[in-house]
């Protein structure tokens, strides 16, 4: 298998601000020397607690790091080095080749724009679709994420639909252009348990049907064990472990991973009546 993504020695730090240098502490690294690759069609879970650098890794890959941060290292998408390309070039990749679904669908969607238009936006931008062709593509994308009444949904504003429906819409917009890499950042954390299960199944089905690669970010080992082939464990901005799911569940090596697994097992065993 060829690699779709290769990250080499990625570090992210807070930019030294000349005017505030006297106040700031010595430069603080948020990500330290991270390297990993993802094969075509591979599903990778990125797990760690709040502040471990999971989301920052996703932002670095998609060129969305805040301006106050600075990064070094290389990121290859296929053959192309994408960590130092212009915004304009990145926009051609983001949303078309690499798509992201965020945790909170209520804030990821524009509250003032009808849902159908938000799904249409990447199709218009990347494929130049207009008119009837665009409408058909939008409906197809909404049906793909099992939004039963796609016409009604397309015509609604985000506040008029449920949280689960909103997350389906966000997924529809992300996959509309058939990206090769899908990054989901805690996509089910804000949802009810039963809805969470449905969204997980949906992501799993879409990823396998389209043979997409997946980076699934979560703090929940049980969730990651459902969707990923391989797990990267992050702590304090570093990778502490990189191993297949079966191996992680059977024989984790790093003490932190052992702790994660112990806690996940405690919650899991509570359900054994």
């Amino acid at each position: 298998m060829t690699d779709i993504l290769r990250v080499e020695g990625l570090s992210v730090a807070v930019k030294a601000d000349r005017s505030r240098r006297s106040l700031s502490q010595p430069s603080h690294d948020l990500l330290r020397d991270i390297s990993f690759d993802i094969a075509d069609g591979e599903r990778v879970g990125l797990i760690g607690e709040s502040g471990s650098g999971k989301s920052l890794t996703a932002l670095a890959i998609t060129g969305l790091l805040p301006r106050s941060l600075t990064s070094s290292g290389n990121i290859f998408f296929g053959e192309q080095e994408i960590s130092r390309i212009s915004d304009r070039e990145m926009q051609r990749i983001r949303g078309k080749e690499i798509a992201v679904v965020f945790q909170e669908p209520a804030s990821a969607l524009d509250p003032l724009m009808k849902v159908g238009n938000q799904v249409a936006e990447p199709l218009r931008r990347h494929f130049g679709l207009r008119g009837a062709k665009l409408r058909i593509a939008v409906n197809a994308a909404l049906e793909e994420v099992q939004l039963a009444n796609s016409r009604r949904i397309a015509d609604a504003y985000p506040h008029e639909i449920s949280g689960g429906e909103r997350q389906r819409v966000a997924i529809a917009a992300a996959i509309a252009c058939k990206p090769r890499l899908l990054i989901t950042d805690e996509p089910t954390t804000a949802l009810d348990v039963t809805v969470q299960g449905e969204i997980l199944k949906l992501i799993e089905r879409l990823v396998s049907e389209r043979a997409m690669s997946l980076i699934f970010i979560t703090h929940d080992l049980a969730v990651v064990s459902q969707v990923a082939d391989r797990v990267l464990v992050m702590r304090h901005g570093e990778f502490v472990e990189d191993l297949p799911v079966e191996k992680l569940l059977a024989s984790p090596a790093h003490p932190y991973t052992v702790e994660l697994l112990r806690n996940a097992r405690l919650l899991d065993s509570a359900l054994e009546a």
Binding site: G197, H219, A222
Partner: protein, 258 residues
């Protein structure tokens, strides 16, 4: 002893024009018995918040009764309300929102003692604050800090310390762990379990997460659309759920694969 009871309680929200009355909760009966932690499981819109505001004496039911130590709870009776607030304390979901950012931790923890006028001597108040912080395994010096200096897990411990300050007999916890990481979540559950055992404290845990409820509670009530669809002992409901909704809730919990 029956610490707290809802007897056929219904609470209706006033409907907006043209709509029929939407029911918050409808004919709910449940008992909080001393020594038996109760879990209330439900998803968004199930009526958990409405149920909580009745159990916390923040609103009165439109029909039915709330009983506190076998007496109807009358929110107009100042004396009974003071007893009630002393005995029934709460911890909320979001420790970033539930602590006053402008006050030091020691003053936050002392707040219920002050507002209920339980202790008047400053030395005794300080002593109580110290004891509460110790009970949640926080060092005494954290009393001098402000909430923004603390992690999510530490904040939730402060919220629990504040609830313990009145020496309550019931602790009502509204999704106390859902804003926390899995590891911190386990720590908070273990803390609540220990506090329950050591302090004769009965815990009412409201959550959408069956596994969290199962790790702490003996009995459980499953709420759906404002009604109880199933109630009983947790291990019986986990092994033999009767209602379709309960089954879907249990099977939806993500499990460790393989």
């Amino acid at each position: 002893m029956r610490l707290l009871e809802l007897r056929n309680a219904t609470f209706q929200y006033r409907a907006s024009r043209g709509e029929t009355n939407s029911v918050g909760i409808s004919s709910i009966s449940l008992v909080v018995d001393s020594g038996s932690n109760l879990g209330v499981i439900g998803e968004s819109g199930a009526g958990k918040s409405t149920l909580l505001s009745l159990l916390l004496g923040l609103t009165s039911p439109s029909q039915g009764q709330v009983l506190f130590r076998d007496q109807p709870l009358l929110l107009k009776s100042r004396q009974q309300v003071v007893q009630f607030r002393t005995a029934v304390q709460a911890v909320f979901q979001d420790p970033y929102a539930s602590l006053d950012p402008r006050r030091r931790v020691d003053s936050i923890v002392a707040e219920p003692i002050r507002s209920l006028k339980l202790l008047s001597n400053q030395g005794a108040i300080d002593e109580r604050v110290k004891e509460s912080l110790k009970a949640v395994e926080l060092v005494e010096s954290i009393g001098l800090r402000y909430p923004h200096e603390l992690s999510g897990g530490q904040r939730q411990r402060v919220a629990i310390a504040r609830a313990l300050a009145t020496h309550p007999s019931v602790l009502i916890a509204d999704e106390p762990t859902s804003a926390l990481d899995v590891s911190t979540r386990i720590e908070v559950i273990e803390l609540l379990r220990r506090l329950g055992d050591e302090r004769q404290l009965t815990i009412v845990m409201v959550s959408h997460d069956v596994s969290v409820v199962a790790s702490l509670c003996h009995e459980v009530v499953v709420l759906n659309q404002g009604r109880i669809v199933e109630q009983g002992l947790i291990h019986e409901i986990l092994s033999r759920p009767k209602h379709e909704y309960t089954r879907s809730l249990i099977s939806a919990v993500p499990r460790l694969a393989r």
